[in-house]
Every structure is written in structure tokens, then in C-alpha cells.
Amino acid sequence: MEELYKILKELRPDVNFDEKKALIDDGILDSFDIVALVGEIGETFDVQVGVEDLIPENFNSVEAIWTLINRLRDGE
């Protein structure tokens, strides 16, 4: 999970990811951030985030993103 925090911090140093629980719904992460984030996640965790995974629930908080990564690692 630390690696994920590192990616997010590099991507958006201005955001406190511990506090924010509605990153998408509140418009904190925009479409460019999401595409960059998905690219980094893919390379770091060796998973393929598909377009079908791009729903707000999967990206609204660090925990949600982490759950998504684990689900994808699990091959589902």
C-alpha cells in the first residue's frame, strides 16, 4: 500500500489522500490524473486496469484503489 501512496503523492502532491474519501465524486482527480494513475498502477503492480474498472467506487479513496489492485492481482 505504501507504493500506492507514493504514486498518488507524486501524481498530486497537493492532495491529502488520508482524508479524502470521494476523490472522483468531489472532482479531486480528473480524467488526466486517472489515466496517469492507471498507467503507474499497471507498471508497479503488474496488473491490467480495464476501462470497465473506471467507476467512481474504485477510485474514490486509497482503500478503494487498493482493493481494486488486489482484485485484479487475484485475476478476477
Partner: protein
């Protein structure tokens, strides 16, 4: 049956009355019948197109839903302890099958749209090329674009893609799905709604509410005010100048383009307000399509505020699909290696951005002027994305605070100019006319001719005063909303006399200042043609 015609109002009163009189269980059936009656009022020949899209997207949704369920079952059978490789194999098999189905549905629907919208344009240009080498030529077709085609195709293909992405289960009832595709207030000019936001509201039971009726009528009146009092009035100058632009000086042309900016906003957003107002009376909340676009601080911000439902469609179904596709993934890796720093990171996504805005441009129609419009928007936005880090450096050096009011005003003015130039392309007869008009504006501006001739452009001094005052009312309302004031709630807090006075003033303005033609039938909405 235009939204601003007398027959539509009669149709609406009948539909609403029946809707609230029948048992609640069958309210959606009333909506379905009303929607088809409304759509058929534009002609019987277009029914085939609506049914083709409805049937294919309905069947596609069911097939995809079935594959989603089967995949889930097979994965469940394997259990949690199964190897991830095994699960990936099963996922892969189903993804391939689903891709074929999705591709088929998209091909049929966008194929129809492309054939009708772009065939003649493509044939015309190919014939020019073929003419250089042979006598062969493609025939021209006399197809008329069925009204609402691109709006309901976008809405229903969005549904199919969502089911493909397992965002929700498909609708099993064909007739309920047919209502989602054809819901009458929105079928002609959007907004392009999402199934999970709209559909359940269409099928739910709704009790009559006086408040909803009041809110709906208020919103409709606001829409009629913008359309009939402002847009249709500015249209007179716009049509006169654009039709014979070579007779006018650059400043007069610029004035007409300015009028067109007002016209297209009041026409389109007015239409959407009427649509949302109608839906509100029926107990249905539709998404908004505008967020005060003329307060945008950049061109990309403008497109987030203008025709929001089209922009959101493009983002969710084109931008993300392309950005995360394998070819762009490879391009991203290559760019990161080749170009160090920011450029390497954002090059692929910038390219996708360009493609998206180019697509939005040609969504408007098949013409070189829309291609130019797409390039204009896509080019500027892509350029600003690539150069974003440099802007902050320059601002830092010049000691400009990006949060200051003056800087914001400058940004709004800059965006307005960029949008203003883009409007030459969308309203000009064709690309060459648009370019000639821009040339005249720059080289033969001659401000004196505008001052001397402003009352001879088609509108009397009274009409221009109406446009000016009513335009200020719209601007003031926008400014209040931009500052976070909910005008409707603010009005609710006032006493009944003030509330009724505002309502009556609006109604009087529409009745006495609205532009009516052909026996009280107002002119059509601009976005109907798209």
C-alpha cells in the same frame, strides 16, 4: 412538433393529465406511448431507425448481461483458492466473446449514423479525388437525417458499453427499455442521459406534486424566455449578416458573431431547460447540460460546462477507452523513454484529447467547417495541456497570482475570444465562408460602420434594447449561480407577492416579447439538426 410550438403545449397538457390519472403501475406505459406519438409527429419514415437502435441495443445488452452472469458463476465455481492464472483464462474467454458482441452493436448503430451523416460528404470528397484519375464517381444520396438520431444512438450505445463493463445489469423488459431510448422530452436534442441515472425514474410510480408542477413550469418559462425572447430575436441579425456577409464590414460581422454566441447559448440551454422542466412535472429529474459556460476560464473548462452530457459521454466512452487501450499503452511507454520529463508522460493522453475534441467537432456534422472547428478546439486544448507546466513558470516569473480576480477575468476574456472565433466555423455556411468572414473581421474591421448601421442589421432599437436587457438578466442569473446562490430557493424565501410578480413578469415577457412566426409557431431549435 417543436418544443416551443403551441401543439407541443397541448400535447404536454394531455400527456400530464393522463399520466397522473391512470393507475401508477402503468404510468410508464403512458410515457412510452406519448414518446412514440411525439417522435412520430416528425414523420413515420424515421420510425425504422429508432426501432433498429432500440432492438439492437436491447438485445446486445441482454446478451452481454448473460455473459457477465455466466462468467461470474464460473469464477464462483472455481472458488477463492483457485490460481489467479486459471481465473484470468476464464475472464479472457468471456472478454473476447463480449468484445465481439459490443463491436457488432456499435458497428450497426454508428454505421447507420455515419452512413446518413457522413456518406454524402465522403462521397463528394472522394469523387473529387477519383475525378483526377477516372470517370468513376460515387452517387449522391438524398437521405435526410432522422431527428434525434445521434442523441438516442449515443444514449443507447452508452448503455450497452456500461453493461459490457458490468456497471449494471441489463433491462429485461423490452418496452421499458424502449422508453429509456425514446423518452419524449429529450429525444430530439438530449441531454444524453445515463441508464442508471434516468431509467429507474421513468419506471417508478410518481404522485402528483404541486411543488414539482411549479418548479417544472418555472424552469420551462426560463427556457422559453431564453429561446423566444432572446435567441429568436438575435437570430434575425445572425441570419441577415451570415447569409450576405460580403455586404458587411468586419465590425458588423463580429457583432453578428457576438449575437450568435448569445443565440446559440439561449437556444440550446433554453431548450434543455424546457426539457428538464417537462421531466420535472412528470416527477423525473434529468441531468443538467450547462453550467454557465461563458464564465469558463479555459477552453477545456468551457467544454466541461457546455453540452456537459456529450463531453461526459466522450470522456467515459472514448477518452478512457482510447487512453487505456493497448496501442496507446505502448505509445505511452515509448514516449516516456523517448521524451524525458512531462512531455513523455502526457504525449499519449494529449493525442487522445485531440482525437476527442476532433470527434466532438465532426459530431456536429459532415463538413470541412466542423473538421476545422474540431481542429481549432482540439489543437488549442492539446497545446495548453502540453504547455501547462510552462504557464506556471511564466506566471511565477511575472509575479501573477493565479487565484487573483484580475487573472480570472483575463482568463474568462481569453476563453470568450477563443470560443468566439470557433463560432465563425459552426455558423458560417461552409469553411471558406467562415475563413473569409474571419479575414474581413481582421482586415476590414471599420468600427464606424457598425455604429452607423447597427439599427439596419435587422433589429430595431427596441429589439436591440430587449436583447441587451434580457441578456443582462441571463448574465445576472448566471453570476448569482456561479457564486453559489440557488435562485429558486432564494425566490422561495420571498413572500408570495414577489414570487408571483417574478413569474408573471417572465410570462408577460414571453407573451409580449417572444418572437412568433407562422401562426404562433416559434422557430426550430438549432441543436435539432445535430
Amino acid at each position: 412538433m417543436s418544443l416551443s410550438s403551441a401543439s407541443f403545449i397541448i400535447f404536454l397538457v394531455c400527456t400530464i393529465s393522463v399520466y397522473y390519472l391512470v393507475p401508477k403501475k402503468v404510468q410508464w406505459v403512458v410515457l412510452l406511448i406519448a414518446s412514440y406519438v411525439y417522435y412520430l409527429s416528425y414523420g413515420f419514415k424515421i420510425l425504422g431507425f429508432l426501432l433498429t437502435t432500440t432492438v439492437t441495443t436491447y438485445a446486445g445488452g441482454l446478451l452481454l448481461g448473460r455473459l457477465n452472469d455466466r462468467k461470474k458463476l464460473e469464477l464462483q465455481k472455481l472458488g477463492n483458492d483457485a490460481a489467479s492464472g486459471e481465473k484470468k483464462v476464464i475472464s479472457g474467454i468471456y472478454t473476447r466473446k463480449k468484445k465481439w458482441i459490443l463491436a457488432g452493436i456499435l458497428l450497426i448503430n454508428f454505421g447507420i449514423l455515419a452512413a446518413i451523416k457522413y456518406y454524402n460528404f465522403t462521397a463528394e470528397n472522394l469523387n473529387l479525388l477519383l475525378g483526377l484519375f477516372s470517370d468513376l464517381s460515387l452517387p449522391k444520396m438524398t437521405w435526410l437525417l432522422p431527428v434525434g438520431l445521434s442523441f438516442y444512438i449515443f444514449q443507447s450505445t452508452g448503455y450497452v458499453i456500461d453493461v459490457y463493463r458490468t456497471k449494471y445489469s441489463p433491462e429485461k423488459n423490452f418496452f421499458k427499455f424502449a422508453l429509456f431510448v425514446s423518452f419524449f422530452p429529450q429525444i430530439i436534442q438530449g441531454p444524453i442521459s445515463r441508464f442508471d441515472q434516468l431509467a429507474h425514474q421513468l419506471y417508478e410510480a410518481h404522485s402528483f406534486s404541486f411543488d414539482r408542477l411549479k418548479y417544472g413550469i418555472q424552469l420551462m418559462l426560463w427556457g422559453f424566455f431564453k429561446k423566444l425572447v432572446i435567441a429568436d430575436r438575435t437570430a434575425v441579425i445572425v441570419n441577415n449578416v451570415f447569409n450576405d456577409f460580403y455586404k458587411y464590414s468586419g465590425s458588423e460581422i463580429a457583432f453578428a458573431v457576438f449575437m450568435y454566441c448569445i443565440q446559440i447559448y439561449c437556444d440550446f440551454s433554453g431548450g434543455i431547460d424546457i426539457i428538464r422542466g417537462v421531466a420535472q412535472i412528470l416527477g423525473i429529474d434529468m441531468i443538467d447540460n450547462f453550467q454557465r459556460p461563458y464564465f469558463a476560464t479555459s477552453l477545456s473548462d468551457f467544454w466541461r460546462r457546455w453540452h456537459i452530457s456529450l463531453g461526459a459521454w466522450m470522456r467515459d466512452y472514448l477518452f478512457y477507452s482510447l487512453s487505456l487501450s493497448k496501442p496507446f499503452g505502448k505509445l505511452g511507454k515509448y514516449a516516456r523513454k523517448k521524451f524525458k520529463g512531462n512531455l513523455g508522460k502526457i504525449l499519449p493522453v494529449s493525442l487522445v484529447t485531440f482525437i476527442v475534441f476532433f470527434t466532438i467537432g465532426i459530431w456536429h456534422g459532415a463538413s470541412w467547417k466542423y473538421i476545422a472547428f474540431g481542429i481549432w478546439n482540439g489543437g488549442i486544448i492539446t497545446f495548453s495541456v502540453i504547455n501547462a507546466p510552462n504557464y506556471s513558470k511564466v506566471l511565477d516569473k511575472l509575479h501573477i497570482n493565479p487565484e487573483s480576480l484580475y487573472w480570472k477575468l483575463f482568463q474568462i476574456a481569453r476563453t470568450t475570444v477563443l470560443v468566439f472565433i470557433g463560432r465563425y466555423f459552426t455558423r458560417g455556411d461552409d469553411l471558406m465562408s467562415a475563413l473569409r468572414m474571419i479575414k474581413r473581421t481582421v482586415l476590414h474591421f471599420d468600427i464606424k460602420s457598425l455604429f452607423g448601421n447597427v439599427f439596419n442589421l435587422g433589429l430595431s432599437s427596441f429589439d436591440l434594447l430587449v436583447v441587451f436587457v434580457c441578456g443582462l438578466v441571463v448574465l445576472a442569473a448566471g453570476l448569482m449561480e456561479e457564486k453559489g446562490t440557488n435562485i429558486r430557493h432564494a425566490l422561495e424565501k420571498k413572500n408570495m407577492f414577489v414570487q408571483w410578480s417574478v413569474l408573471m413578469a417572465g410570462l408577460m415577457a414571453i407573451v409580449f416579447l417572444g418572437i412568433y412566426r407562422e401562426g404562433y409557431i416559434a422557430s426550430e431549435f438549432i441543436y435539432k439538426q445535430f
